[in-house]
């Protein structure tokens, strides 16, 4: 398939991150058009019609989320751009930030205008030091041209963007934890209700959107919802920046319409498994997704198809594992991640993530028992749906899937009191 990239059209150019380059490639025309030709509510409807779903992992309808913000309120409203990309396997937002930041800024302008917001914070993970520099430079350039500031495009509309750097916490990618962090606190997710659209940042109506989601907006505003709907599938519209990492020949980012098969992504675009080994397992969209076996890769990469087979699209960043991979070790690695990143607020996650990691670690080291195998699933069952945010689910659901789909491997570790892959 030869798909013309939309979001990543210019990223290979050396100066793609500069204002001059962006302007000479129709940059900021879309935002101007949106402000001139659309009323804010119309813009929300257009985005709703386009079917754009959040690209941060949850896949919620972008337009619908915007629609929850009260039209009449005395409080200031905020847009928060979630650039805290920390989901293991995911590196697509980094590309946009480092190589096409103006596309992001233009998307922010459109989003803010649609919801009548005048203040935007970009929460970028602390480790993206270079990205923050590039982004700040791009924002400065936008201010210079009055695309941001007191009267953007001379319309009298005020819009300010502030970059707020995170400092090493995966949980701050969760929207309410992000808000806690923006407010100067520990990254604790907040209880919902109330929802951020009603009571978010500083208690005010807030929209939180992922970088890639926002990057789609200039294209929707310029070409229209109908054009956008033609890409992808009926319920998963639009282009997606897919990721490939792990045991694959050509790891990297591939922009393709939603709905392509995982097999195509790995073999046609990724070049197949590294060293032509056999495929063993694939995580379709970041470590929070339940794992798929090599027999399940004919699934379509869209929101609904993956849910139907018990996994999820997540960030659409696939991690490929060949037959040399020990699945127990892989699960241990993933669980160590969640144990390390759990904010510690609520009991099932705080205790469960650490406990799970220790049990699987024991199994990998050869000290596991048969009971441990069923214990993993029971602990996971006790975590899902019982917590303030879904980090617990992100640890528990994959854990269940590894044990279920690779049970014999776990059993073997217990029986031989060691890891068969370490021989």
């Amino acid at each position: 398939m030869n798909f013309e990239p939309i979001l990543t059209e210019y990223v290979k150019h050396q100066n793609s991150h500069t204002m001059d380059f962006y302007l000479s490639h129709d940059g900021y025309k879309s935002a101007q058009k949106a402000i001139q030709n659309f009323k804010p509510d119309e813009l929300i409807e257009e985005v709703k019609k386009s079917g754009l779903r959040g690209r941060g992992g949850a896949g919620f309808s972008c337009g619908m989320k915007w629609g929850f913000v009260p039209k009449i309120t005395t409080k200031p409203k905020y847009l928060v751009c979630n650039a805290d990309e920390s989901e293991p396997g995911t590196f697509k937002d980094r590309l946009i930030i480092e190589k096409d930041p103006h596309q992001l800024i233009e998307g922010i302008i459109i989003a803010c205008f649609a919801v009548q917001i005048h203040t935007c914070y970009i929460y970028i993970r602390g480790e993206f030091v270079n990205g923050a520099h590039i982004l700040q430079k791009a924002i400065n350039e936008a201010y210079e041209r009055h695309f941001l500031g007191d009267s953007i495009f001379g319309t009298g509309y005020k819009l300010d963007i502030t970059i707020h750097r995170g400092a090493g916490a995966y949980i701050c990618g969760e929207e309410t934890a992000l808000l806690s962090s923006l407010e100067g606190g520990r990254g604790y997710p907040k209880i919902k209700p109330p929802f951020p659209a009603i009571e978010g940042l500083f208690g005010c109506p807030t929209v939180v959107n992922n970088v890639e989601t926002l990057a789609n907006l200039p294209h929707i505003a310029l070409h229209g919802a109908d054009w956008y709907k033609n890409i992808g599938t009926e319920n998963s519209t639009g282009p997606k920046i897919f990721g490939l990492s792990g045991h694959v020949k050509k790891p990297g980012l591939y922009e393709l319409p939603l709905g392509i098969s995982l097999r195509t992504l790995i073999y046609e675009y990724g070049g197949g498994v590294l060293d032509d080994k056999n495929l063993k397992a694939v995580i379709p969209g970041g470590s929070s997704c339940p794992v798929l076996t090599a027999h399940e890769i004919d699934t379509k990469m869209d929101f609904d198809s993956l849910i139907a087979i018990g996994s999820m699209l997540g960030t659409a960043s696939a991690i490929v594992m060949d037959t040399s991979t020990c699945m127990v070790d892989a699960l241990w690695n993933v669980l160590r991640f969640y144990a390390h990143e759990s904010c510690g607020q609520c009991t099932p996650c705080r205790e469960g993530t650490g406990w799970l990691a220790k049990i699987v670690g024991r199994i990998e080291k050869g000290d596991g028992t048969k009971n441990d195998l069923s214990l993993i699933t029971e602990i996971a069952n006790n975590m899902v749906g019982r917590t303030i945010c879904v980090l617990a689910d992100a640890a528990a659901m994959p854990a269940r899937s590894y044990v279920q789909k690779f049970y014999s491997e776990f059993e073997e570790h217990v029986q031989m009191k060691g890891c068969p892959f370490k021989k």
């Binding site: 396997g89 100067g184 790891p251």
Partner: protein
């Protein structure tokens, strides 16, 4: 321990972009790190006084976020990604190599205070595994040979 006037003005510009002063805590801690190298107890008390919040609040925030530099960190902080995608491309093997070469374990600093070695979680560059950061610089597709070269160059810079 105090910020000079320029830095204080910088902090003022930062706090002016938030409706509440205390929202500038994370940026303020980065300022502290930039100006004094690490974040010390004294520094946290100072930031607390600047933002009208309690030292306990600052300490709670500081211990939550792993990216801030703790006192005792060496001149070069080597942060090696150890999460699954990098692990699948032999990051553990690379870690063992660095650990052996520098003679330190995870989290430790070389006696000459030059290098601190830390395993960290996914740095968001999984297609360029094994990936690591040294201070604020990114290094991709790392191998033991590349690391040797890098560390030797850094030592030579002294």
């Amino acid at each position: 321990m105090k910020f000079n006037d320029t830095v204080l003005k910088e902090l003022e510009t930062i706090t002016s972009r938030y409706p509440k002063k205390e929202a500038a805590l994370l940026p303020a801690l980065y300022l502290l790190e930039r100006e004094f190298g690490t974040i010390s107890n004294e520094g946290m008390e100072y930031v607390a006084s600047l933002l009208d919040i309690s030292p306990a609040k600052v300490f709670g925030v500081f211990t939550f976020y792993t990216y801030y530099r703790r006192p005792g960190t060496g001149k070069y902080l080597i942060q090696l990604c150890s999460t699954l995608p990098c692990a699948l491309r032999k990051s553990e093997f690379l870690f063992d190599h660095i650990s052996k070469k520098l003679g330190i374990k995870n989290g430790e600093t070389t006696p000459d205070k030059m290098f601190t070695l830390k395993k960290v979680e996914c740095l968001g560059a999984c297609d360029r595994a094994p990936f690591l950061q040294i201070n604020e610089d990114d290094f991709e597709h790392m191998t033991p040979e590349k690391v040797n070269f890098l560390l030797d160059e850094l030592r030579k810079k002294q």
